[in-house]
Symmetry: C2
Subunit: 121 residues, 2 copies
DNA sequence: GTACTTAGTACGAAAAACCATACTGATAGA
DNA sequence: TCTATCAGTATGGTTTTTCGTACTAAGTAC
């Protein structure tokens, strides 16, 4: 699809699919999934480099706290966007990477960034 | 662009543009703009029918409170996504509609809904 | 003069998100 | 024995969102 899709074209294609009334809207839950202060940045870091260790992520997202990073990663893992691989070594090593479900979000990010580049100065 | 764009293709095209480090990321502010419990649903209602009066919107988003609807609309207007037209009548009449900037979000919603339809059961 | 209409405001309470700081467990190396 | 490493937990506090309820202004119809 191109950037200049009109409202009518969109409506014609998915108009009857996006429904907020009965809770079947396929957009709202996605945005909800990406909410929170850190999730997008975590996904972005995992786009840049993957896999990444907990400590590496923490370094990249500098002012983040252990708690927030842990929670965000747990939720992302729970939503199936991030894979957590734990190695039983001492000191512990845990590596995070994007799942296919996670990388499938890239077209979304691409569309958003197109809009952002047009409208954000 | 198509739905099956790979990570490498995305990186090749916008890899150097999306930057969280220096705050120039064109994705984060967009998602931030759409955050909040009601904004997406308001935009959706205005996609379906436009213009809409305050009371009509309120009826559609049933459990929403006056305060939340007012705040969300003010922020959407402030972000330039929604246009507010006030008629000096009694009782008052105010009509809301999407701006071009707002309708330009439709490709984003389309991309999201593609993802959603694939992954949300 | 009373009730009804619409598009909000005002204000306080509840809930959710976020933050700061301290702490743990298991081992390796000095 | 002492210290360092790593991936988190625990706990309590602050800030931001959201909710609930009551209220306003200005005119119109009765």
């Amino acid at each position: 699809m191109n950037q200049s899709m009109t409202y009518e074209e969109f409506q014609a294609r998915v108009g009857s699919v996006i429904l907020t009334e009965n809770g079947n809207c396929p957009v709202t839950p996605v945005v909800q999934m990406l909410q929170g202060k850190w999730k997008l940045q975590i996904i972005y870091e995992l786009c840049i480099q993957s896999p990444m260790r907990f400590g590496e992520l923490k370094k990249m997202l500098k002012p983040i706290t252990n708690t927030m990073l842990t929670n965000a990663l747990k939720e992302l893992e729970g939503d199936g966007l991030v894979h957590r691989e734990q190695y039983n070594e001492i000191p512990p090593r845990v590596e995070y990477s994007l799942t296919e479900k996670g990388t499938d979000l890239l077209p979304v990010f691409y569309a958003i960034s197109q809009w952002g580049m047009k409208y954000i100065p």
